[in-house]
C-alpha cells in the first residue's frame, strides 16, 4: 500500500489556500459571488423562464380581446387541478365562446406549463413575473380573469421570440381560414352560378327533347 507522500497538515493548508483565494477573489472579481443583492440587482431571466400562466388578449380590451374560448382543455389537463373555468352564456342561454370566469389558484399551480402546451388557441402562456409576495394575509391566492389577462404586447415584451412565432402561426391560421372561406365562397358562388346557368338552360330542355 503506497503512502500519501506529504507532511501531515499540508492538505489542510492547501484547503486554507483555496478558501483564502476565494475570500480575496470575491472582492476582486464580483462575478465570483453566488448571490446578488436582490431588489437592487436582478438576474436577467432567459426568455423561456416560466412560473405562472397568464391569459393573452389581443388589442386593448382585456375582456373582449381574450383569446380563450373556454374549451376547458387546460382545466382537464392541469395536473394539479389549479384551473377553474366557467363558460359564459349568451343572452339566449347558449354557451358562448369565452369564459365567464377563469381562475387559477396560484397556490396550487406548479408552473408546469402543460396548460400552455395543450392550449389549441395559444390563449394561455407562461409568465415570468416572480414577484407575487404580498404584505397582507388577505391577498387572494386565486387569480381571476382580470388579473390573469395580459396583453399580447406584454407577451411580446417578455418572450419576443416565442410570441413572434405564435403570432406568425396565428396569422398563418387566420390566412388559411380566410383562404378556406374565400374558396368556400368561391365554390358556393360557382355552384350558384352553375345552378343559375342550369336553371336558365332548363326551360329549353323539354323543347330540345
Amino acid at each position: 500500500m503506497r503512502k500519501l507522500k506529504q507532511l501531515p497538515g499540508v492538505g489542510l493548508l492547501k484547503g486554507m489556500l483555496v478558501t483564502g483565494r476565494n475570500f480575496f477573489g470575491s472582492y476582486r472579481n464580483p462575478r465570483r459571488l453566488v448571490t446578488v443583492s436582490y431588489p437592487e440587482q436582478r438576474l436577467l431571466l432567459p426568455e423561456s423562464s416560466r412560473n405562472f400562466p397568464f391569459l393573452v388578449y389581443d388589442g386593448n380590451d382585456s375582456v373582449e380581446g381574450l383569446r380563450c374560448v373556454a374549451c376547458k382543455t387546460c382545466e382537464r389537463e392541469c395536473p394539479s387541478g389549479a384551473i377553474r373555468i366557467v363558460q359564459a352564456r349568451d343572452e339566449n342561454g347558449r354557451p358562448a365562446k369565452h369564459p365567464e370566469r377563469f381562475e387559477i389558484g396560484i397556490d396550487a399551480c406548479m408552473g408546469c406549463q402543460i396548460c400552455a402546451e395543450v392550449c389549441p388557441f395559444d390563449a394561455i402562456k407562461m409568465d415570468s413575473d416572480y414577484e407575487h409576495a404580498a404584505t397582507g394575509r388577505t391577498r387572494p391566492m386565486v387569480h381571476n380573469k382580470l388579473r390573469l389577462a395580459k396583453s399580447n404586447t406584454y407577451y411580446h415584451r417578455i418572450k419576443p421570440r416565442e410570441a413572434a412565432e405564435v403570432d406568425a402561426r396565428l396569422e398563418m391560421e387566420r390566412f388559411r381560414k380566410e383562404e378556406a372561406r374565400r374558396k368556400r365562397e368561391e365554390a358556393a358562388r360557382m355552384k350558384k352560378e352553375a345552378a343559375a346557368k342550369a336553371a336558365a338552360a332548363k326551360p329549353e330542355a323539354p323543347e330540345n327533347s
Binding site: 500500500m1 446578488v36 406584454y154
Partner: protein, 460 residues
Amino acid sequence: MAVTIPSDAAPPPGRTSLAFPARRPGLTLAAAAGVLVVGTTLLVLLLDRKAPGILTGAVVEALAHPATAPLILKAGVLGWLAEGWGLGEPWLGLASISLSLFTIVAVFMGLFALTSIVERKVLARIQNRYGPNRAGLWGLLQPVADGIKMLTKEDIVPAGGDRWMHLLAPVMLAVPAFLVLALLPYGPGMTVVELGVGILFFFALGASAEVAVFMAGWSSNNKYSLLGAMRAIAQMISYEMPLLLAALAVVMLAGTLSPTLMVEAQAGHAFGFVPQWFVFTPWGLVGFVLFFIAALAESNRSPFDLPEGESELVAGHMTEYSGFRYAVFFLAEYIGLFGICGFAVALFLGGWHAPLPVLDFIPGYLWFFLKLYGLVLLAIWIRGTMPRVRIDQLLAFSWLFLIPTGFCVLAGAALWHFTGGGWLGWLVVTPVVTAPYFLLLPRLQSAEANALRTYRFSEE
C-alpha cells in the same frame, strides 16, 4: 449566464417594480453623531464647573502622549473625582478599578459586536457571498438588530428541565470569560488586575467554564444537550493539558507567572529588527501552534466545535436555549475566544511590543489588539475551511499528539535555556520540539487513512 445588472439601471421589462427605499448610509452616520452630541451634553451638565478644566487637560495630554493615553485619561477622571467631589481613599480605589473595568467591558463588548459581524462577513466572503449588508452602512448595525431580536424572543425553560440551573448556566459561563479579561496585559502598566499568579488564575477560570457547559447540558433535559455537554467536558479536559504545557514553557523561560512580566521578557529586537518574541524561537513556535490549536478547542471553535456540532447534535448544550440566554452563550464564547487569544498574544507574540523598532510610535495597546484580532481572523478563516473532527479523533489528537508535543516543548525550552539560545539552541531544540510532528502525527491516522488511493477505471 448569470448576468447582474447594476442597481441604477432600469429594471428589466415586464417587472413590476416594488418600491424599496433607497439606502442612505448618511442617515446611520447622522444618527450616531446625534447620539454622541446628546450624550456629551448630558455628561457635561452632570459635571461640576471644575470638571471641564481637568478633563480637557487630561484629553489634551492624552492626545499628546497616545502611548499612555488610557492611563492619562483615567488619572484625569480620578483627579477630578478627588478634587471636584473630594473622594477619599477607599472610594478612589473603587472608582479606579470601576473605571478600568468599565473601559475593558465596553471595549470588549464593542469588539464582540464587531466580531459577530466581521465573522459573518468574512465567512460570507470566503464562501463568495455578500454577508449581512442591510442593516446600516455595510451592515454594521447588524449586531444591534441581532441584539434586539434576541431580547424580544421568548425565554424558554424546557419542561422537565432544572429551571435554576438552566437560567444560571449562561451567566456561569460569561462571568469567568469576562474575568479573564482583567488579567490581560494590554499595554505597559495597563493590566486591570496585576496578579502575580495570573496564569494560574487564567487556568482556574478556564476550568470553571466546564462546569457551566455541563450545567447547561444537564439542565436542558435534552439528549442532544447532554451529549454535547459530555463532549464538552471530555474536550475541555483534554485540551487544557496542552494549553497548560505550552504556557508552562513560557513560565519556565520568563521565570514568572505574571502575564505582564512575560510580555516584558519579550522586549527588544535581535540584530535590530527581529523581535525577541517567544514565537521566534523553535520551542516558542511549536508552543504557539500548540497553544493556538488548544485554544481553538477550548473555545469550541471549528474544527473542534464538537460540543455544538450542528450536523449531529443540533446545537449541543445550547439546543434548548433561546432569546437572550442564547445570546449570552454566544457572548461568552466570543469573550472566551478573545481572552484566550489575548493570552496567546501575551505569551508568544510579544504582547504590546511592536514587531519592528520603527513601528514603536504606534501605541502598545493598539499592537496588542491588532495581534489579538489577527488571531481571531485566523480562527474565522479556519472555520471557513475545515470540516469538524470526530470525538475519538479529537481526544486522540490531544492525548497522543498534543500532550507529548507539550512535553517536548517543555524539554525544548529547558534546552534553550541551557544552551543560551543562539545557533546552538536552534540546532539542539529544533529536533526535540519537531520530533512528535514527524514521529507521532503520521501514526495518529490509521494506515488506511494515510494510504494513497488509486482508482481503477472500467471501460465496460
